[in-house]
C-alpha cells in the first residue's frame, strides 16, 4: 500500500485502509483527476458512489489499473447544500451510470450529463415523487418510426425489466432499458442487519445466479476489514467453487442461446449438462447454486476426497460432452448465420462505457480480475484470460465455450494442488470485530464479470456504508449499443448473449 497526495492506492485486491489515509480533494480537482485517470486505456471505473453523512457529502471513486494490480481510491468532500456540480460523464462516459445513481440517491444535479435519469427508484431516493411508472422515456416524434415496448412482465421465466425500442420497421434505431422493478434495498439491509450470518445470506441473494461470486466478495471484504487470514486450502476450495459456478452458467447460457434460435440439439444437450454441474455443487454443499458454501473465515462444507473425486469426474464429463456439442453448435451453418456479425459492440464503445467481464473480453479488452487483481488462490495460480476480438454474438458464445474449457483446466489443476496441500479445518467465524474507521473493497471475477463490494466502518467498528456493484451495472449499456441498427427480432438472442442480471443491477 502506498499513498500520494491525490489518491490512495490499494495494492492488493481486498485489503483495508484507514479512512484517514484517503486524501480528500475538492470536487473540481476530483473531477479532473478521475477524467484524466479514466482516459488511460488500462484503467476503468469499478465503483463510484456517494457516502451520506450528517454534515457533508462524500464521493468515492475507485478506479482499477489493470496493468499493475492496483486500485486507486479518489475521494472528495463537499458541503451538504451543494446541488449543482459539473458532470464527468460528458468526458468519461463510463461514469454515466454512477452519476445517475448518485443523482438519484442524493438529488445532486450533474450539469452536462447526457442522460440524467433515475436508475432503479431505490427506496432511499432523494425525490420520492419519481416513480417507476413515470420514467421519462426518450421519444422521437416521427411518422415513420414506431415504438415497441416490451415488459416489465415477459413471456419467459425471466426477471422484470422494460425495454423501449424505437424502430423503423424491423430495424431498431434506439433501445432504452428501464430497470428498477427488482429493487429490494440490499445495501440498506446490510446497514440495518448488523448480523454476520444474515449478511452472508443477503450477499448470496444479491443475484441468484452469482451466489458464489457475491458471497465470496462479501467474505473477502469482511476478512480484510476484520484482519482474518484464511488458509491456502480454503482459498483453493473457494476458487474451485467459483469456477464450477462459471462452468454451470456458461453452459446454461449456451443452451439458452441455442434455444433462442430454435436449435433444439444444442439446447437440450447443454441443459442436461448444466444439471450435471450444478448437481455436483449440490453434492458438495447441499445447494445447487452454492448457497451456504462461502462463509467468512472458514467453511461449513470443507472439500473431502469423495467430493473432490466427484468434481474431478464432472470435469471429465463436461470436457468431453461440452467439447462435442460446442463443436457441433459452432459448425452448424444455420446457427452461425444467427450469431455471426450480429449485435456488435466495438472495442471503442466498450472502452467508452467501461464494460467488464466476458462482454469486454469479446471486444478485445483484456479485463479479467483473476489476472489483473488476483484474489484468493489466483494470487498463486496465473489465469490466462480468453480474449476475442469481434464483439458479436458469436464471440460471446465462443468465449463461453472457451472459458468452460479454461475453467475445467483450472478446476483440475486446483484439485491437484489441493490434494497435496494441507486440509482446511477452519469453521466460519461470525463473532469477528471489524477495524474502526476503515475502508475496504473486494473484487471478484464472477462469471458475469467483476463484482465489487466495498464498505466503510464507523468509529465503533460498525459498518456505516456498504456498496455493492454487480457487473451488470456497467454492461446493460453494452446491450443497448449492441442492438442499434439490428433487427428487432435479433434482440432476444442479443439479450441472451449478455445474460445480464436484473436484480444485480436493481439491488
Amino acid at each position: 500500500m502506498k499513498n500520494n497526495q491525490e489518491y490512495f492506492i490499494i495494492k492488493n485486491n481486498s485489503s483495508s485502509a484507514d479512512l484517514e489515509d484517503i486524501p480528500v480533494m475538492d470536487y473540481v480537482s476530483f473531477r479532473e483527476k478521475i477524467i484524466s485517470a479514466l482516459n488511460e486505456e488500462n484503467k476503468h471505473c469499478i465503483s463510484y458512489y456517494s457516502v451520506p453523512s450528517e454534515d457533508y457529502l462524500r464521493l468515492i471513486c475507485c478506479i482499477a489499473d489493470d496493468s499493475d494490480k492496483s486500485i486507486e481510491i479518489f475521494s472528495c468532500k463537499s458541503g451538504k447544500d451543494i446541488k449543482l456540480i459539473e458532470s464527468a460523464a460528458s468526458l468519461s462516459p463510463q461514469v454515466h451510470i454512477f452519476e445517475r445513481e448518485i443523482h438519484e440517491n442524493t438529488g445532486i444535479v450533474f450539469t452536462g450529463h447526457p442522460w440524467l435519469k433515475p436508475v432503479r427508484f431505490s427506496h432511499s431516493r432523494a425525490d420520492k415523487s419519481k416513480t417507476v411508472d413515470g420514467y421519462p422515456f426518450y421519444s422521437i416524434h416521427s411518422e415513420e418510426l414506431h415504438e415497441v415496448g416490451v415488459g416489465p412482465v415477459h413471456a419467459g421465466v425471466i426477471e422484470p425489466g422494460h425495454f423501449r425500442f424505437i424502430c423503423n420497421g424491423e430495424k431498431v434505431h434506439h433501445l432504452e432499458i428501464q430497470l428498477g422493478y427488482q429493487h429490494r434495498g440490499v445495501e440498506e439491509l446490510f446497514l440495518s442487519k448488523q448480523d454476520a450470518l444474515q449478511w452472508c445470506i443477503l450477499s448470496e441473494s444479491i443475484a441468484g445466479d452469482t451466489s458464489v461470486g457475491h458471497s465470496l466478495a462479501h467474505s473477502q471484504l469482511i476478512e480484510s476489514l476484520s484482519g482474518m487470514e484464511v488458509s491456502e486450502g480454503l482459498q483453493i476450495e473457494r476458487c474451485i467453487a467459483l469456477e464450477l459456478e462459471r462452468v454451470a452458467v456458461h453452459i446454461g447460457d449456451t443452451a439458452a442461446l441455442c434455444g433462442d434460435v430454435a436449435y433444439q440439439l444444442g439446447q437440450v444437450v447443454c441443459e442436461a449438462l448444466r444439471t450435471v454441474v450444478i448437481n455436483t455443487t449440490q453434492l458438495w454443499c447441499g445447494n445447487r447454486f452454492g448457497k451456504g458454501l462461502i462463509r467468512p473465515g472458514g467453511s461449513n462444507y470443507p472439500l473431502n476426497e469423495e467430493i473432490a473425486q466427484a468434481i474431478y469426474d464432472t470435469a471429465g464429463i463436461v470436457e468431453e460432452r461440452f467439447g462435442e456439442i460446442a463443436d457441433c453448435i459452432y459448425s452448424t451453418p444455420s446457427v452461425l448465420a444467427r450469431f455471426d456479425e450480429i449485435g456488435i459492440v466495438t472495442k471503442k464503445q466498450a472502452h467508452a462505457i467501461g464494460t467488464v467481464g466476458p462482454s469486454a473480453r469479446t471486444c478485445g479488452i483484456e479485463r479479467d480480475i483473476r489476472r489483473s487483481h488476483p484474489f484468493q488462490y489466483f494470487r498463486n495460480y496465473i489465469v490466462d484470460p480468453v480474449i476475442l476480438e469481434s464483439g458479436d454474438i458469436l464471440a460471446r458464445g465462443m468465449l463461453r465455450s472457451l472459458e468452460v474449457q479454461g475453467s475445467i483446466k483450472i478446476i483440475r489443476d486446483l484439485l491437484k494442488i489441493w490434494s497435496e496441500s494441507k486440509r482446511n479445518e477452519e469453521k466460519p467465524v461470525y463473532n469477528y470485530r471489524l477495524k474502526p474507521d476503515s475502508f475496504s473493497l473486494a473484487l471478484v471475477e464472477g462469471w458475469r464479470g467483476e463484482i465489487c463490494h466495498s464498505a466503510m466502518t464507523d468509529k465503533n467498528g460498525k459498518i456505516s456504508h456498504y456498496k455493492v456493484k454487480d457487473p451488470s451495472f456497467h454492461n446493460w449499456m453494452a446491450l443497448a449499443l449492441a442492438v442499434r441498427n439490428q433487427e428487432i427480432s435479433d434482440f432476444p438472442v442479443c439479450n441472451k448473449s449478455f445474460n445480464l442480471s436484473y436484480c444485480g443491477h436493481d439491488l
Binding site: 416490451v150 433462442d260 444467427r338
Partner: protein, 303 residues
C-alpha cells in the same frame, strides 16, 4: 368424402408425431402422440378471454380461419375419388380460401391493438405474399401439362402419362409443396412455433391474445392445414387408380414421412434470421419457375 375423413384422421396424429420425433431426436421421453389432442380437449372446456380493445373481428376470426381450412379440404381429391366439390379453376379457390382464413387471422390480430401482434401481422402478410407465386406457378405447371384446371382432373390425369419428365417434376413438386407447407404453417426455419420470445415470432405472436375455445379452433386449423398439404403431396406422388387399401396405406405413410421430415428439420437446424426469410421464400418460387420452364422445354410447348 373419404378424403375428408382421411385428412381428419391424419390431423389427429400429425402434431403429436412431430413432437415425438423432436423429443426422440433430443434424447427425451417426450409426451404421447395424442398429447396435442388432449390439450385441445382442455382448451375446449375453457372459456375465452377478450381484451377491452378488441372488437367483433377478433371474436369471429378464429372461426372463419378454421372454416376456410375446412372449405379448402373440400376441393382435394384422393386418387380417383373426386373431391367433394370440383370445378374448373378450383385450385385458385383453394389458394384464396386459405388466404381468406389468413386474412381474418391477420385483421383479428390487428384488432387487439397490441404492438407485438401488429408486428407479427406485418410479417405474416409479407411472407404470405411472397409464397403465393410459388404455389401458383406450381399449379400452373400441373394445369399446363394435364390440360385441366381442377384438382380432381389434374391428379386423375397426372400419372397416366409415363414420360420421364413427370418423375423430375414430381420430385421438384414434392420439394416445393413441403417448403410451402413450412411457410404456411410457420415452422422452422421460417418461424419457431415453440418460442416464447414475442419479438421473434411471426404466427405465434398473432394468436397471443386468443385463449380457450378460440385458441383450440386456431390449433385445429393449423393441424388440418398440415394434413391438407400432406394430401397434396400424396396426390403428386401416388398414381391414381391403384388398389384402395394400398392407396390408404400409402396416404398414411406419406403423411408420416412428411411429419418426420418436419420433425427432423426442427431438431437439427436453427431458424432463419428474419431478414433472410424473404430470400428463403423467394428461392421456393424460383425453384417453381425452374420447374415450369423445364416442363415447357420438355413438353416442347415452347415451339
Amino acid at each position: 368424402m373419404a378424403v375428408i375423413i382421411l385428412i381428419i384422421i391424419t390431423a389427429l396424429f400429425f402434431p403429436g408425431i412431430i413432437l415425438r420425433i423432436k423429443s426422440i431426436a433430443s434424447g427425451r421421453k417426450g409426451p404421447g402422440v395424442l398429447q396435442p389432442m388432449k390439450e385441445i380437449a382442455i382448451l375446449f372446456r375453457k372459456g375465452s378471454v377478450f381484451g377491452d380493445t378488441s372488437g367483433i373481428i377478433f371474436r369471429i376470426s378464429p372461426a372463419i380461419s378454421l372454416s376456410a381450412v375446412v372449405c379448402a379440404m373440400m376441393v382435394l381429391p384422393f386418387g380417383n375419388l373426386k373431391a367433394v366439390i370440383s370445378f374448373e379453376g378450383d385450385f385458385i379457390f383453394f389458394s384464396y380460401i386459405l388466404a381468406l382464413g389468413k386474412f381474418f387471422s391477420i385483421i383479428g390480430a390487428l384488432d387487439t391493438g397490441s404492438s407485438f401482434e401488429g408486428m407479427g401481422a406485418n410479417r405474416e402478410t409479407f411472407f404470405s405474399m411472397l409464397i403465393e407465386p410459388a404455389f401458383f406457378i406450381l399449379l400452373a405447371t400441373f394445369a399446363m401439362f394435364t390440360g385441366h384446371t381442377s384438382f380432381s382432373d389434374i391428379f386423375a390425369g397426372f400419372h397416366i402419362s409415363s414420360d420421364h419428365f413427370i418423375l423430375i417434376y414430381s420430385i421438384l413438386a414434392v420439394y416445393i409443396i413441403i417448403q410451402i407447407a413450412v411457410v404456411e404453417n410457420s415452422r422452422v426455419p421460417v418461424d419457431d412455433p415453440k418460442t416464447h420470445l414475442e419479438l421473434t415470432m411471426i404466427h405465434e405472436v398473432m394468436i397471443l391474445d386468443n385463449s380457450g375455445f378460440d385458441k383450440a379452433l386456431i390449433h385445429i386449423g393449423s393441424y388440418l392445414k398440415f394434413a391438407v398439404f400432406g394430401t397434396l403431396l400424396y396426390n403428386v406422388v401416388v398414381p391414381a387408380g391403384i388398389n384402395t387399401i394400398l392407396q390408404i396405406a400409402l396416404f398414411f405413410s406419406i403423411q408420416f414421412v412428411f411429419a418426420l421430415t418436419i420433425g427432423l428439420v426442427e431438431s437439427f437446424r436453427a431458424r432463419n434470421k428474419m431478414n433472410k426469410n424473404p430470400k428463403f421464400i423467394l428461392t421456393i418460387s424460383a425453384v417453381a419457375w425452374i420447374a415450369f420452364v423445364l416442363i415447357l422445354i420438355m413438353t416442347n410447348k415452347l415451339t
